[in-house]
Amino acid sequence: MSITVKFFASLRERVGHSEAVVDAAGPLTARDIWARVAGTQPMPPNTLVAVNLEYTAVDRPVRDGDEVAFFPPVTGG
């Protein structure tokens, strides 16, 4: 399956890129996706995860075609 991965803000800088595509056999969770794309960078404990533009838990399985995003706590407004 093919998963689009996005990183924002300080996580984007930490991982070193803003977007990636993972092609792999499932099942995979968002946490598994991080391990494949972020290399040796551990995921910060306050990382937020969205799948297909909705917040979700990091251990939820992802599906073929999903867009998975990782980002730090939000600071808008």
Partner: protein, 145 residues
């Protein structure tokens, strides 16, 4: 109901007038308008801030702001809502966000406006990076209420 992301500075009064005149379908019906305006300050955590850059998640940010606007209209008797939020580079004293709520009665307008800005600040995907005299710094925590 509108959600707008802007990369240029905007004038709060002009936006309110524009929305009321051109869009709001409630002329003569709203007695109460409550607005929240968030303005960039020139200091944070004790440091002088020269400017900031606001990053967002195209697609998810708009979706989230529409979702909280829908939720506000479900929870309170409001006639219309408007959220305008800056993205990109911002300078001190410029508005970052405008939240406006139109209602027949003031309690609903206050409650809905406060709900929208709290939800926006705690859940909407925006990230501030500050420009300090000695370099850039990501803001780690949002300002307390």
């Amino acid at each position: 109901m509108a959600v707008e992301l802007r990369s240029e500075i905007f004038d709060v009064g002009a936006e309110l007038r524009r929305y009321q005149d051109a869009v709001l379908r409630a002329r003569g019906k709203y007695g109460a308008t409550v607005t929240f305006i968030g303005t960039m300050r020139d200091f944070n955590e004790g440091d002088a801030v020269q400017g900031m850059t606001l990053e967002y998640y195209p697609g998810m940010t708009e979706k989230h702001l529409h979702a909280i606007s829908d939720e506000a209209r479900r929870r309170w008797d409001v006639l219309d809502t408007l959220i305008i939020h800056r993205v990109g580079k911002i300078l001190p004293d410029e508005p970052i966000v405008l939240v406006a709520v139109w209602s027949a009665h003031r309690a609903a307008a206050f409650d809905a406006c406060r709900y929208l800005i709290e939800e926006l600040k705690t859940r909407a995907p925006f990230w501030k990076q500050e420009r300090l005299p000695d370099g850039m710094r990501w803001v780690e925590h949002n300002t307390p209420p």
